[in-house]
Point group: C2
Chain length 357, copies 2
């Protein structure tokens, strides 16, 4: 166990956020913070606490018919000279204030404050969300201990500006390649120029009309874009290969397989090789538990366009949304901050939902 | 001076070629061969021999009204397990047999065999032709001792399969850039995709009609081609820059400045930055000395499409052609070889030209 000062889960949620922020936890270095969280939760008799690597899972087991999951990652992007935290007026500055230790603070307050929630609750605090997907702590739990993530509905407390963001879009990347034939560029007519041959690929991207489907009542917005292009052998050689890397962001009414099929159709006639991909997640707001959550929180739910860990819950059959006090536009910025009032409002809304019969 | 066996300039030109080939002279390592050439030429009373780095220049000074230059590089590309030389039937195999020690052997034979040529002759044997232009020995002489290269006409004895190749095309490279605006690829409509923006650049290349002008009686063939393309920031970012590198090979009726203006016109609306360029050279076969050369050698002169060192002579005001016994298609190949009969035929033709009154 570390020498970090014990966390006070019974005081002000803004102070708790500052305490969490001041325990540095860049991805891969979460041990001190995971220890502090485990130490704070362990004495609470109404919770069963499980430690898995640098993830901590705490569950009530009251025998309710429904179980909800409240989750947040405890790691941050690398520091940018923005620790320790500091308060200016109503704003708390520091690395992780928005993304997402303010959400983690709310979850920890709920865990301590609600010995008898209206639904059983699983609190998940996990590591390595900000780096490569293979190391993601929530993904590890989903693979190795999926029973710990089971539930009827999940709330990921990522920064959403206090609005519900439902589901997420899927993403895939593909390499679209054109082949040619090398020759000396002084006698270019003996070759076939593969860079020239990708002109139709770029034309198809330029004329592509992205879908904007409504899924479970939320409006999504797809996109198909080149994110890289490479070609060329030498300054005097007609190149025999050119590769365009495309990224397709697709709405959650389409499976990963359907999205791949679509990309193959768009680039019919070219070699298409998929390099990675992850399905999206439907918003799931039609589920009664989710509807109760939306009523308690208020506002107008909107679609999440980026890919987030709610997709991991979707794969386990758990509808999930993003909802948290941080401002997503401030995530990963040197001047990252969060409004103390927003954290308190989020805490009130979550208490109203989980505490209500 | 090295311990290389002395060169015999009075014997068979094929044997002399083999002796030259067997003195390894990869670019930058020509000293032993330059020493051997200087040693072989120094005793010839009708020649003034100058050594400059690893270049050797030998001149007659008979007071003729006309002077011609016979030049060849003595370096080779790196070995490919193809030394020492070997003979199979009429073919001599080995690194540099075609490009261009057979041409150098002919020039050395002429230097020794013609104490009283019909025109004054300057023989130039130079280093570092096969590597970056800045180290080219002929270029060094042109900059530092241009008087050594003065003349009315020059023959570069590069491999041409025994045909006269007149002049050379110019070459330039330019970077054609499109700019955009970065955004996250999940919300691509906030950005401007620079890779998509080069589609018209590639379309212009695809629809480009290359000129095939006749210059001084020879038919040239231009080309404008992409030889490289780069763009992309990360797999989830709309890229803000894409650069297409193009190579324009232009006929010698166009100056480098005219060629640059043309490229700017073709890519009007895009950023165009020139990274390198070298003018071509007119074939110059209309000059009386050149016409006499063409008559003596026979065959039908053709245009040289690649860029060669004749351009360096052109800049000094010396019309120049390529003419040599090697096969240009075998240059830089592991099985590089030359026909002994072709070397002897070249020697006869050059003797007929330089020896005739």
């Amino acid at each position: 166990m570390s020498e970090t000062r014990p966390l006070d889960l019974t005081g002000d949620v803004g102070l708790l956020t500052a305490a969490l922020v001041d325990v540095e936890s860049v991805s891969g270095g979460e041990k001190a913070l995971a220890d502090a969280i485990e130490t704070a939760l362990a004495p609470l008799a109404h919770l069963t606490v499980v430690r898995d690597g640098e993830a901590v899972v705490a569950r009530t087991d009251l025998g309710h018919a429904e179980r909800v999951v409240v989750a947040g990652h405890i790691d941050t992007v690398p520091l940018a000279g923005n620790l320790p935290s500091r308060v200016e007026g109503d704003l708390l500055y520091g690395c992780g204030t928005s993304d997402m230790k303010s959400g983690v603070a709310v979850a920890l307050k709920l865990a301590a404050a609600l010995p008898s929630p209206a639904r059983d609750v699983t609190y998940v605090f996990y590591d390595c969300e900000e780096i490569e997907a293979a190391r993601n702590g929530l993904g590890r739990l989903a693979r190795t201990r999926p029973e710990l993530l089971a539930g009827d509905f999940a709330v990921l407390m990522e920064p959403t500006g206090g609005e519900i963001e439902g589901g997420c879009q899927g993403t895939l990347r593909a390499e679209v390649a054109a082949r040619g034939k090398r020759s000396h560029s002084a006698r270019s007519w003996y070759g076939v120029n593969a860079i020239h041959a990708v002109a139709p690929v770029l034309e198809r991207l330029n004329s592509y009309r992205a879908r904007e489907p409504v899924v479970d009542g939320l409006a999504y917005h797809e996109g198909l874009n080149a994110v890289g292009i490479t070609g060329g052998v030498a300054g005097n050689v007609i190149p025999d290969e050119c590769v365009v890397t495309v990224n397709y962001r697709f709405a959650p009414d389409r499976s990963l397989e359907e999205a791949q099929r679509h990309v193959r159709e768009v680039f019919d006639g070219y070699e298409v090789r998929f390099t990675d991909g992850a399905p999206g997640a439907r918003p799931g707001l039609t589920h009664p538990v989710a509807a109760a959550f939306a009523r308690a929180v208020g506002g107008t739910p909107r679609a999440k366009l980026g890919w987030t860990d709610v997709s991991l819950f979707a794969r386990l059959g758990v509808p999930a949304v993003n909802y948290g006090p941080g401002d997503p536009n401030l995530a990963h910025q040197a001047d990252e901050h969060v409004a103390l009032g927003a954290i308190a409002a989020c805490e009130r809304n979550m208490l109203a939902w989980l505490g209500a019969p």
